[in-house]
């Protein structure tokens, strides 16, 4: 299984996607913005179609459009309360725009439809290099951005008093999420990206007592689920995305049972 070149590539690519998704997902869940993560994966298609329409590279359009949408969501709803409305409206408006672009694009728009499920076994070297560069950039940015991000997420009032602009942090973070989603969705599809973003991070948030442990647990689980999914898919010959999404659900359920015994407080929450 490991001697086949396309399998090697699949392991590397899914590993990288898992690392970025695990990292970004952890902060996404701390900020309770899972919806944004999903919405941004839809948004890209409008950009891709728009770019094809004016003759630009679809990927560039996808990236730019996602970035703008991420920024817009961050700007409209920096407070938790109104965020779901902001996300919902940006999502539907950008999908509407995508539809309009599609209307003018009277040729075959192949890049539009292929996004729901990607093909991790069909990653070419160029894409792989792109992914590696993206993941390095993303990790470096997160490394430098983590401090204000955590501060603004955990103690917004205090952060504001210390001169952190909640709106800026929110915009920047969602732009980063948009970037990552745009890139990963190209490779692995909406389903797989979202599974790797939410599942491992949910477990990490549930169990870890320090930020670093949380981040690493999240990344570790994401990689483990991604590779585990590929291996099980190899054995059973069912689609990989199915296995990874199932694994991520099962691992979360197991962690729920586990964390029940962890602390007394959790127990009460489950009773209420």
């Amino acid at each position: 299984m490991f001697s086949l070149e396309f399998m090697q590539t699949a392991f590397i690519a899914s590993g990288i996607v898992a690392i970025i998704c695990g990292l970004i997902g952890y902060f996404l869940l701390i900020r309770r913005e899972a919806f944004a993560g999903h919405a941004l994966s839809h948004v890209g298609f409008a950009g891709a179609t728009g770019a094809s329409l004016v003759g630009l590279s679809p990927f560039l359009g996808l990236l730019l459009f996602s970035l703008c949408a991420g920024g817009l969501i961050g700007a409209i709803g920096p407070k938790l309360k109104d965020r779901d409305i902001a996300i919902g409206l940006v999502l539907s408006t950008s999908m509407g725009l995508g539809l309009l672009f599609l209307h003018f694009y009277t040729r075959y728009a192949s890049q539009v439809t292929g996004l729901l499920f990607g093909n991790i076994f069909a990653v070419n070297t160029q894409t792989l290099y792109g992914l590696i560069i993206l993941s390095i950039i993303c990790c470096i940015v997160m490394l430098f951005f983590m401090r204000p991000l955590l501060f603004a997420s955990l103690q917004p009032d205090l952060a504001e008093a210390k001169g952190v602009s909640l709106r800026c942090v929110s915009i920047l973070f969602l732009a980063l999420v948009a970037c990552v989603t745009a890139a990963c969705v190209q490779v692995t599809g909406i389903l797989l990206t979202f599974s790797l973003m939410v599942g491992p991070a949910a477990v990490a948030r549930q169990l870890s007592t320090t930020v670093w442990r949380g981040v690493f647990l999240s990344i570790f689980l994401a990689v483990a689920e991604a590779w585990g999914g590929i291996i099980i898919a190899w054995i059973t010959d069912y689609p990989v995305s199915f296995w990874i999404s199932l694994l991520s659900f099962v691992v979360y359920l197991v962690s729920l049972l586990f964390s029940k015994n962890l602390s007394f407080y959790k127990k009460i929450k489950l009773i209420n």
């Binding site: 701390i30 204000p148 603004a152 952060a159 008093a161 210390k162 169990l207 602390s263």
Partner: protein
């Protein structure tokens, strides 16, 4: 040097005037209580001092600087809100505020860790360093936040209703902690609360906020039945015994 200086200050939220023509000066090493009816503008005043609510230039000076520049030297405990029910440890939680205002590598230096241990020691809460946030009681959380406010050796600490929902024991414990720290480090403390009694003998000065006015005064001058009744628009009685000073509404 004055720690806080307001000259002819107007504070507005939108077009709504909250406080007008404020003039006050607070010296070093003062424990100042802030009182006033609900919605009179206590939180707004504090936010103005912190530079969150923008005010016309040069009307507020904190330690001789503008609020924005003085930020580093102000410790702040926001009005209590339900915290995330994370399993994050106390130490990690307050560590987010160290350098949290600027970009940079998220690693704590030995000095930072030492500083955290130091402030936890100062509030006698070393044990909280390893307690998950979700397992702390209200009083423990307030102590943790107080420790956090002490990070970076502030000259001024602003606390917005730190005692709400705390029982008398914790109120007393935290108050004496604050008093102790203040004496040690010549801090200026600004503290708002609705329960005046625990503060009666501790405060050095009082700011009364009401009717768009804020007046600074000595405890003896302000804590009288007349002033308080006027402030709240309701008969309030100040009772003096040999050792105690009480405020009551039962008349």
């Amino acid at each position: 040097m004055n720690v806080i200086e307001c000259q002819n200050l107007d504070i507005r939220l939108g077009t709504h005037l909250i406080l007008s023509r404020l003039n006050l000066q607070i010296q070093e090493n003062q424990f100042v209580g802030i009182f006033g009816p609900n919605g009179s503008g206590k939180t707004t005043f504090m936010k103005a001092l912190l530079g969150i609510i923008p005010c016309s230039e040069n009307k507020i000076k904190i330690l001789g600087k503008t609020p924005v520049k003085a930020r580093k030297q102000i410790g702040y405990i926001p009005q209590y809100r339900e915290m995330e029910s994370f399993r994050l440890k106390g130490k990690d939680f307050i560590a987010t505020s160290i350098h949290g205002h600027k970009l940079g590598l998220p690693f704590l230096t030995k000095k930072d860790l030492y500083q955290i241990d130091n402030v936890l020691d100062q509030v006698h809460a070393r044990d909280l360093a390893f307690t998950p946030l979700s397992e702390m009681s209200g009083g423990q959380r307030q102590r943790l936040l107080l420790a956090q406010a002490l990070l970076g050796n502030p000259k001024l600490i602003i606390m917005d209703e730190p005692f709400s929902n705390l029982d008398p024991k914790w109120v007393k414990l935290i108050l004496s902690l604050i008093k102790e720290l203040q004496a040690q480090r010549k801090l200026t403390i600004l503290l708002s609360t609705h329960d005046l009694n625990p503060l009666m003998k501790i405060m050095d000065q009082v700011i009364c906020i009401g009717n768009q006015q804020a007046v600074l005064g000595d405890v003896d001058h302000v804590m009288t039945s007349e002033v308080l009744s006027g402030l709240y628009g309701f008969p309030i009685e100040v009772v003096k015994t040999d050792q105690h000073l009480f405020v009551t509404t039962s008349c």
